[in-house]
Structures are given as structure tokens and as C-alpha cells.
């Protein structure tokens, strides 16, 4: 299941629009045990200068995971999902994701590597509003652990 270096640069069609809801943001903040009111209270968010409640900085993973599945479902990307662990993750925020955003996620393959029997796949996801405003770029490196390898993250 070695990944073909020719996959680098392959991009996938944009996702359907994801509408960011206040409840989903509050649910995500609760899962992180984060009590910050800017994730729940529109008034507190506006007092901090945001138009509506904003999402925690790692919330973008919700969209990038969904968009990244397009890559894992690509028949040319032969990866056993049960053997996949997350190796690295990066977020670059142009502005915070916020309630009411209508976002489109576009995935592309940034890098593939094979090290010590482990396939490593780096997927980039660009999040923009449906009007094209750049909001966030994520980069996710997944490791498909080979049979010989011992566990790492």
C-alpha cells in the first residue's frame, strides 16, 4: 500500500457548503472543556470585537476531516483507515471561524512519503466562505502504520 508520489498536487472538487452553527461551536468547546464565553454567548463575542460567537482554533478540524475523507476514498489512495493515526496538524487562520459562516472546503494532496514501512499522507484543506473569502488553511499528516512498526501517536 505504498503511496504514489504522483499523487502530490492532486486536488479534489470543493465540498458542499457547511453552515457553522452556534450549537455546533458550543458542543465542540464543551468537548474541550473550554468555558470561554466567546464560544457560546453572542454578546460576549461582540464585546470582544467578533460579529458572532467564534469557534475554538482547532474547530476547523471538523471541516478538514470531512473534506479529507474525499482523499481517503480516492481509489488511488490505498490506505487502511483502521491503521491510520494522526501524525501532524497545522492551522493557519486568516480570521476565526464564526457562527453563520457558510464555508466550502477544498482538499488537495500536499505530500506523500514512506518511512520505515509507514505511509505518510499530508492533505491540505482550504476553507473559504462561499463568496471566496479565505478563512483557514489546514494541513493534516496521517500515518498508516505498517505491520512492522510499533505505535507512535
Amino acid at each position: 500500500m505504498t503511496l504514489d508520489a504522483g499523487l502530490v498536487g492532486r486536488s479534489y472538487p470543493p465540498s458542499v457548503v457547511y453552515e457553522v452553527g452556534r450549537e455546533k461551536i458550543a458542543e465542540f468547546a464543551a468537548a474541550l472543556g473550554d468555558p470561554d464565553p466567546v464560544y457560546r454567548d453572542p454578546e460576549a463575542a461582540r464585546a470582544a470585537g467578533h460579529p458572532d460567537v467564534i469557534a475554538p482554533p482547532t474547530f476547523a478540524i471538523v471541516l478538514s476531516l470531512g473534506a479529507g475523507n474525499v482523499v481517503l476514498e480516492d481509489p488511488d489512495v490505498a490506505i487502511d483507515y483502521s491503521r491510520v493515526v494522526h501524525g501532524e496538524q497545522k492551522f493557519v487562520h486568516h480570521r476565526p471561524v464564526r457562527a453563520g459562516d457558510r464555508l466550502v472546503a477544498t482538499a488537495s494532496i500536499e505530500a506523500v512519503r514512506t518511512v520505515a514501512g509507514n505511509d505518510m499522507l499530508t492533505t491540505r484543506v482550504d476553507l473559504t466562505t462561499e463568496d471566496g473569502e479565505a478563512v483557514c488553511r489546514t494541513s493534516s499528516m496521517l500515518v498508516a502504520r505498517g505491520t512492522a512498526a510499533e505505535g507512535s501517536a
Partner: protein
């Protein structure tokens, strides 16, 4: 949209308040639902051990999210965190024992950047072992 901490208030070496969180199996279920990451290794001991893991492990992004919380709580505005990157160096094993695992986060300002930004380097451990490496945040002050 402004951090509470000012650029003039910090220097290289400024330490962030430490943070300790407990992660239980229930927290993994909650995070799975909130994030949409239902990978079985985060809830099924049988499958986790079958694929060679020591047991059920926390979602890397749960650990990373907890670590980011230490930065946003310090900055005073989560919108101030403009870049964030982590490498998952070791899994956080979450036992089914009613106690769970501890995730300990420490951070310090590692560099002053242009445009009133700073780079914060985080040290994130569980059971005394580093679980994230190269955990870095760029914060707009």
C-alpha cells in the same frame, strides 16, 4: 478582536499559566461526536490492541485542542491564535478505569515576531512523557 495580553507585556521566556486536564473514556466519546472523528481506536479496546496500540488512545486533536486552550486562555481572545501546529509524538492512552489520563500543558514565549506577534512553544505531557512535539502557536497581541 484583541488579545488581553499586550505585546509590550511579554518577552522571550515569559511563561503561560500551566494547565492540567483529565481525559476519560467519556471525554473521548464526547470529542468523537463533536469532531466527527469516529476512528475505532478512540473507543474500542479490542480494535486498538489488534492494530498494535497499547489500548484506546485519545484523539490527537483532543490533546492539541486542550493545549491550544492554554494559549487562548492566556491571550484572552481565542481569535488571537493565528497559527497553530503540532506533531503527535506519542499516544495518550486512556484507560477504562474511571480516572482516565492527565494532560499537562506548559508554555512559554519563544520568539517575538513582526507585527506584534509572538511564537509560543508548548510542552504537553501525559504520565510524564511528551505527547506532542513541536507544538507551536503564533499569537497576535
Amino acid at each position: 478582536m484583541a488579545a488581553v495580553v499586550g505585546f509590550a507585556d511579554v518577552e522571550v521566556g515569559t511563561e503561560l499559566p500551566g494547565q492540567t486536564s483529565t481525559v476519560t473514556r467519556a471525554d473521548l466519546v464526547r470529542y468523537a461526536g463533536a469532531s466527527g472523528d469516529f476512528n475505532v481506536i478512540h473507543w474500542n479496546e479490542r480494535v486498538a490492541t489488534e492494530v498494535g496500540l497499547p489500548g484506546v488512545i485519545a484523539h490527537g486533536m483532543l490533546t492539541a485542542g486542550l493545549a491550544a486552550r492554554a494559549v487562548t486562555a492566556w491571550a484572552g481572545d481565542p481569535g488571537a491564535l493565528v497559527e497553530y501546529s503540532v506533531r503527535f509524538s506519542r499516544p495518550v492512552v486512556v484507560p477504562d478505569d474511571g480516572t482516565g489520563a492527565e494532560v499537562v500543558v506548559a508554555g512559554r514565549v519563544a520568539a517575538l515576531l513582526d507585527g506584534d506577534r509572538v511564537r509560543v512553544d508548548l510542552t504537553v505531557t501525559s504520565g510524564g512523557e511528551k505527547v506532542l512535539s513541536l507544538a507551536r502557536a503564533v499569537v497576535q497581541l
